[in-house]
Symmetry: C2
Subunit: 415 residues, 2 copies
């Protein structure tokens, strides 16, 4: 027998993720899942990948398979500097740090910044993977209120005045889970606030390139470069399986991120970095991205049209200009975990929104829908089923005949 | 300005690695470096890689580029189960966890097991990367004495009787930095000791396959399966740049390692895992490994012959049956950091052994030599230069004319 108390104190916080259990259930054949958060395999540039794989073997040979710098493969850092310039971000290759998925940056930030009990501010709701990265380092979370345009600057300012916060975590473009985008006016306000308070902002931007309408809004990194860690990934515009993330951080933060990364994985796969370098520098991203957008835009459109048609009037939802998600709010008190169980029995599924809140029990009446993994007809059918399930849940809920769909705890107003 | 006290308490422990600075200096053209710890690019199976890259694209298509299970790509876990069987280790594919380099397992173990102040026992000297993985979690290290056959079981037993230890970390085959291998008799003793004390052993085995003579010695994992996390990597027998590590842990430990990994990188590169699966299941490793051994064996041989010829009589060193390193001990009081600076000026370099001790300041009279990165003639020339540098250092040291090579602090006996 191994000794009791084998585990570290922090480990008790790494609870099994309920969302993982949901994703397991809905992966069974015949289920139309709107629960996932993953890109369509059809969006992967397979023909390009064949070509660049050959090119990398030719061009770099054994160098692409050798140990490399913790900071990243130089040709990829060069290519990313050029890529970031298209977003208005000025960076030298040396300032860019490559990571194993953007998850690697989030873990590294948690490791070098969070002492147990330190405060981290984030949107309510927020990205689940960020919570999974930060929580093992035992922070206290400060939730900042949001509306349909994302984080409320006044709420952020008030929170920073009340608490000393290690950093703020935010997804300003097509947020996961809500699809919301922070408008320019709020970005300017956030930039002013973080500079005034001397607070670090982690600006996570995995979805920015998946824009189906409207114009690019400048990253907050361009407005307060010394106070922002800009984090992104090629997962949504190249291939997620390659785990290719990166960040552009103030020098002090980058210095420690590199040392932390050395202890975590030494460096990110050289071969995968070489493929990514070739994808960017060969102009393949620029040519392929419009195809990804033309795949997703009609899917999102079909889902939104079906939602108008089939969802109850008491439901409201976001209509994002891009990304992969729509966020739905039902009437207060409705328990979307129970509703989802019924939906799964009928052959479709979503993620109950409560999982995306740092404070347990909030957002029980909310849910997240994904539209990248199914075609238009399938999405329409799934939304029709969900509409029926919602109608039934509402009927039971309003008549008070059944408590099955009623949230057992009080729910605070969100959204 | 960012706020002061931005960094977490643990971050002060992640000091810049002196060894990194040495490796930077010695990478300049014209220097013959025996300081590195990396495989020869010539050992990489480039022709096989071209073939299996094509095969993976054909066989798995977009699946090789999609998000995958945190636990690992199923075909790789199957292939590794078969591979481990050749070492006498019985494992189902489900028990194997893939990691981003074996470094990923070490970081994960630190995260789930070490609370600040917890004790970790390790060989003196030990693998530097393990210290870099564990140290951010703020353990106290208990150094266990070693001799030319590796860790002393009596010393381990005494340490476990004295202290409560979270786990023991050990490299039993061709250890980095010493090249030493723990004989079967000691493995049996260690297996008995850890079972009696209920202590977890982390058995790190990156070099086991690089055996140039003698017969396989069974892993400790086969002797005490419920008390051992067996960790290994394909870095030395396939390609290090692919960052392909794995472990076989008791169920409780694996459960938490998976949850920790989810927060760190979600999963290891699917494409790289698919390449590794194909390398193993296609029988390529079995065919290619003898070629790697035939590359390294004469290099080691040439270096050992030159050491006999050129090194002072007061120096002693290991004569490993495999791996990548030879460990050298000079006379007590000689400061190998100073000696290395002179060696670098003469165009060759090693790693001073003091960097491999958990407790600073120990092992100042020791050093590590690597022989995988240079051919026989170059190694002979480098050893001749080192012999001259050592002779000069000894002359100055013995005459007491110069304190340049004298270690400034007392040095405890190690070996």
């Amino acid at each position: 027998m191994l000794a009791e108390n084998l585990l570290a104190g922090r480990t008790r916080n790494m609870g099994a993720s309920a969302i993982r259990e949901i994703l397991k259930v809905v992966s069974r054949p015949g289920t139309i899942s709107l629960a996932g958060g993953i890109p369509a395999p059809r969006s992967f540039p397979m023909a390009i990948i064949e070509k660049i794989t050959e090119a990398v073997l030719q061009k770099f040979g054994s160098e692409a398979f050798q140990y490399g710098l913790t900071e990243g493969f130089p040709p990829l850092r060069e290519a990313l500097a050029a890529y970031l310039e298209t977003k208005g971000i000025v960076a030298t290759p040396e300032q860019i740090l490559i990571s194993t998925g953007s998850q690697g940056v989030l873990d590294g930030l948690g490791k070098i910044l969070i002492s147990p009990g330190d405060r981290v501010a984030l949107e309510a709701p927020t990205y689940l993977g960020a919570l999974q990265a930060f929580t093992p380092y035992e922070p206290r979370y400060v939730q900042i209120d949001t509306d349909d345009q994302g984080m409320l600057p006044d709420a952020l300012d008030a929170a920073l005045a009340r608490h000393s916060v290690k950093f703020i975590y935010m997804v300003p473009n097509f947020q996961n889970p809500t699809g919301r985008t922070l408008p320019m006016k709020r970005r300017l306000a956030v930039a002013e606030i973080i500079q005034r308070h001397g607070t670090l902002l982690v600006e996570d931007d995995p979805y920015g390139d998946l824009r189906y309408g409207g114009a690019l809004i400048a990253p907050i990194k361009t407005l307060a470069p010394e106070h922002v860690v800009y984090v992104s990934t090629l997962s949504k515009v190249f291939a997620p399986g390659l785990r290719m993330g990166f960040c552009l951080a103030p020098d002090l933060v980058r210095h420690w991120l590199v040392l932390a990364k050395q202890g975590v994985d030494l460096h990110t796969s050289t071969f995968d970095q070489a493929l990514a370098a070739e994808y960017l520098s060969g102009g393949h991203l620029a040519r392929h991205l419009p195809k990804i957008i033309e795949l997703y835009r009609p899917r999102q459109q079909a889902m939104l049209v079906a939602m108008e048609r089939f969802f109850p009037h008491s439901f409201s939802w976001t209509r994002p200009d891009g990304g992969m998600f729509v966020w739905v709010q039902g009437p207060m008190g409705l328990d979307m975990e129970a509703v989802n169980r019924t939906a799964v029995d009928r052959g479709t599924a979503f993620v109950p929104g409560t999982f995306f809140f740092a404070h347990p029990g909030e957002g029980k009446e909310t849910l997240r829908l994904n539209y990248t993994m199914a075609d238009e007809a399938t999405l329409t059918r799934a939304i029709e089923i969900l509409g029926e399930v919602f109608d039934e849940a509402l009927t039971g809920f309003q008549k008070g005949m059944s408590s099955a769909f009623r949230s057992s705890s009080m729910v605070s107003a969100r959204c």
